[in-house]
């Protein structure tokens, strides 16, 4: 699809685009030569020092020192023209190379020698950009000035808002300054609505109801969180009938698809909007004791990738959170350790704010994500062997 002029350029080469993978996770990785240790930047497919092609993308030290800074007041790019003035600087990375970065120029050019922290962030086109912020800065900064990263003043719709994670999400987004939260639930709620939270009766498997909700609220919703979910807790062969597997697909996959199909056109028309899908680490690997659930989350992960690609040219972000077991009704029978629902909710708030598109809250999920990147087959076997002895 042709690039819209109100989005940043997407012209990178394939190898450099690998910067995006880490940025999607909110991490800063560069190719490191396995033969001599040289960190490569600008990224190269051969070591600039020893010519080895044995390069691995690894997390590198985020520290840097300012070399020289400018303020771009005239750009040859239509998108950047709308964002002027823009801070651009060259910095010496603690990891070795010199890198071009964006920085916040609202107080003028940052002085040479200033210590900085580099963040690898996604811009509105989904391309990775190195951003320099003060060394002591906490959290992510909005140097790229992406309206899709703000929560303050925004309207959020959350499905399954009366569930364990759903309730935590309502609280976290209210605390983050959302102006309006549409809490969608399948059952009528007793607690009365207040000035921020408004309830909406919605079964995500009822396509007509979803279409109605989109028609009614599509114009106002900025952030859609697809959280409603169902777990049958059964193996694919172990279950007596296919009812549970069917319901999982209906709620988790088709419910999410219906919601996105309803709301996405409103987002793309405004060239703004964020969709967050609540997935699970089990979207990446099957846990046999709940095999049909894993399949439904895997389908929803594929859906997430597909709609992300379709919406990228329209300035609409699609994010996903991949928790391990969370302490809610849905996992009452699962063994500990379990994440608190508030941890998942706060990971989602952070993901929206820092512009990343994947979040693995807690050590278990992030370790598992690392293990899956390194050797997915090994993790699959580990999950398989975790089954009780066959009867």
């Amino acid at each position: 699809m042709k690039r819209r002029p109100d989005l940043p350029p997407r012209t990178r080469g394939r190898f450099a685009r690998r910067l995006t993978s880490a940025a999607a996770r909110g991490q800063f990785e560069l190719p490191v030569c396995q033969a001599c240790g040289t960190v490569q930047y600008p990224v190269r497919e051969a070591c600039r020092s020893c010519l080895s092609d044995n390069l691995r993308w690894e997390a590198v030290a985020p520290g840097a020192t300012m070399l020289s800074a400018t303020i771009i007041r005239h750009s040859t790019d239509a998108y950047f023209q709308t964002l002027r003035p823009l801070g651009m600087a060259s910095v010496r990375l603690d990891a070795g190379p010199v890198a071009m970065v964006r920085y916040d120029c609202s107080d003028g050019p940052v002085a040479p020698g200033t210590r900085l922290q580099i963040q690898n962030q996604l811009d509105r086109s989904g391309e990775a950009i190195l951003v320099a912020v003060p060394e002591q800065a906490k959290g992510s900064s909005d140097v790229l000035r992406d309206p899709n990263r703000q929560i303050g003043g925004k309207t959020v719709l959350i499905t399954g808002a009366d569930g364990g994670i759903g309730k935590a999400l309502v609280k976290a987004l209210r605390d983050a300054g959302a102006a309006k939260i549409i809490a969608a639930t399948r059952r009528p709620q007793e607690s009365a609505a207040d000035s921020v939270v408004q309830s909406l009766l919605l079964d995500v498997t009822d396509q007509a109801a979803v279409a109605r909700a989109a028609e009614l609220h599509g114009h106002e919703v900025d952030i859609l969180i697809n959280n409603a979910g169902f777990t049958a807790v059964a193996g694919l062969l172990d279950a007596d009938t296919m009812d549970g597997a069917t319901r999982e697909m209906q709620v988790n996959y088709f419910g999410t698809l219906a919601m996105i199909r309803g709301f996405a056109p409103h987002f793309s028309a405004r060239k703004q909007g964020v969709i967050v899908n609540v997935l699970s680490v089990l979207a990446h690997v099957s846990l046999p004791s709940m095999g049909s659930y894993c399949a439904s989350k895997a389908a929803t992960l594929s859906l997430t990738q597909g709609v992300r690609a379709e919406l990228l040219p329209w300035g609409v972000r699609v994010c996903a959170v991949f928790p391990s077991t969370v302490d809610t009704a849905a996992s009452a029978d699962s063994p500990p350790p379990k994440l608190a629902p508030a941890q998942v909710a706060s990971a989602i708030v952070t993901m929206i704010r820092d512009g990343s598109e994947e979040s693995y809250p807690g050590a278990i999920a992030s370790d598992l994500a690392g293990a899956l990147r390194a050797d997915a087959k090994a993790v699959e076997r580990e999950m398989a062997l975790g089954l009780p002895e066959p009867r």
């Binding site: 002029p5 940043p8 350029p9 012209t11 990178r12 080469g13 450099a16 930047y41 600008p42 990224v43 070399l67 020289s68 800074a69 400018t70 303020i71 771009i72 007041r73 005239h74 750009s75 040859t76 790019d77 239509a78 998108y79 950047f80 023209q81 964002l83 823009l86 651009m88 600087a89 060259s90 010496r92 010199v98 890198a99 071009m100 970065v101 964006r102 050019p109 040479p112 811009d123 391309e127 950009i129």
Partner: protein, 389 residues
């Protein structure tokens, strides 16, 4: 010091330039055609006498020297493409000179032409590093890159805006007298300092205006030049350096700074013998680095030099006597031949603007190929007035 073989017996002659509109509906081939036509007419030769073509252009692609040969119905036995922008002028001349000495060709036309880029996204695909790591950072183009280099130079050497302004004001004064100038009106220091910022600390008049144009000259044997009755220049010495000082975190030298002694030794001359300097002037900070590299002052001392010297054609350090790209515009890769042609005009008594009195020798310095955070190619040559044997 191991010196390269001398360039003796080689003549460089017939500097030509086309019209230089800011925009055009013509293709770059037209500018090449006009350049070639002028070369032939002014040299009094026919098209078939040219048996070598050296070509520099950013906008000629996908065509090249071979397709130009077909376009103009020529059958050269030597061709050369030089996609090195501002560095191409001297590089074309030295390569052509070696080919003449080796007998690979007898008359080589060194041609450069380009159209002014326009519209959005013009720098998005300049090189892989630019596309991947520069353009997505704000599309500031070369201005942003040289703003970083300028800011760093100012901090390191105590240069102030007026120092850069001196170069710009002097060049525009030279340029005002030039037949091909884009600006008849000279520039005052006040104009320079009050111009709007483009990329801090660069202001409007630090950045050269773009135009469409072709530039060309011929390289042949001295014997041939004399039999054709052409005034010519000799090459006293030449140097080039690619990716020099690559470990500098921010560029503070042009590469040829490491080759300066070879240049002067080959010519058996010194900076004091130079009657003028033609230095690539995409940004004044690069002019300063070239003055340092060529030994007119020490490293980092150019701000002091430009405060002390008069840089106009009648001054004690005549610099870019035709006005440079600041006055004549930057026709893309053809900007790299402006200095060559101005030097040839001064040395062959064919000045079309401000004239350096009794010019016997001068130095031409080229610079270009901005890839990531610096220019990669620099080259320089000493040219001397050719005399009938």
């Amino acid at each position: 010091m191991q010196l390269p073989r001398s360039y003796e017996g080689v003549a460089v002659a017939v500097p030509v330039s086309t019209v230089r509109p800011r925009t055009t509906r013509r293709s770059v081939h037209w500018f090449f055609g006009q350049t070639l036509d002028q070369l032939i007419r002014q040299a009094g030769i026919s098209k078939s006498d040219i048996d070598g073509l050296a070509v520099a252009s950013y906008t000629l692609g996908p065509d090249n020297a071979a397709s130009l040969a077909e376009y103009f119905d020529m059958e050269p036995r030597f061709i050369l493409d030089l996609p090195y922008g501002g560095a191409a002028g001297v590089m074309a001349m030295t390569r052509a000179a070696r080919a003449i000495q080796a007998g690979d060709a007898s008359i080589i036309a060194c041609l450069a032409a380009d159209l002014a880029p326009s519209g959005y996204g013009i720098y998005s695909n300049f090189s892989a590093f630019t596309r991947d790591h520069i353009y997505p950072y704000g599309g500031g183009g070369a201005n942003a890159t040289f703003a970083l280099i300028t800011a760093n130079y100012m901090a390191a050497n105590g240069a102030v805006a007026e120092d850069f302004g001196r170069i710009c004001v002097a060049q525009r004064a030279n340029g005002a007298q030039h037949a091909l100038t884009m600006f008849k009106k000279p520039l005052s220091m006040e104009d320079y300092l009050s111009a709007r910022l483009i990329a801090d600390p660069l202001r409007l008049f630090d950045c050269v205006p773009r135009c469409c144009a072709g530039e060309g000259f011929l390289v042949m044997s001295e014997d041939r030049a004399q039999s054709l009755g052409l005034p010519f220049a000799r090459i006293g010495g030449a140097i080039e350096r690619v990716n020099g000082y690559s470990q500098e975190p921010v560029m503070s030298h042009v590469g040829i700074a490491m080759d300066r002694d070879r240049l002067y030794n080959q010519a058996s001359m010194s900076p004091q013998d130079m009657d003028f300097v033609q230095a690539y002037d995409d940004y004044p900070v690069i002019v300063m680095m070239q003055l340092e590299a060529l030994g007119f002052c020490g490293h980092g001392e150019a701000p002091k030099l430009v405060r002390e010297k008069r840089l106009t054609a009648d001054g004690d350090l005549p610099l870019n006597t035709g006005g440079g790209m600041l006055a004549l515009g930057q026709p893309g890769a053809a900007g790299g031949s402006l200095g060559m042609n101005e030097a040839l005009r001064q040395l062959t008594g064919k000045s079309i603007g401000a004239t350096v009195a009794d010019a016997e020798a001068g130095v031409v310095s080229c610079f270009g190929t901005v890839n990531y955070d610096r220019g990669l190619c620099s080259s320089a040559a000493i040219l001397t007035k050719g005399r009938a044997a």
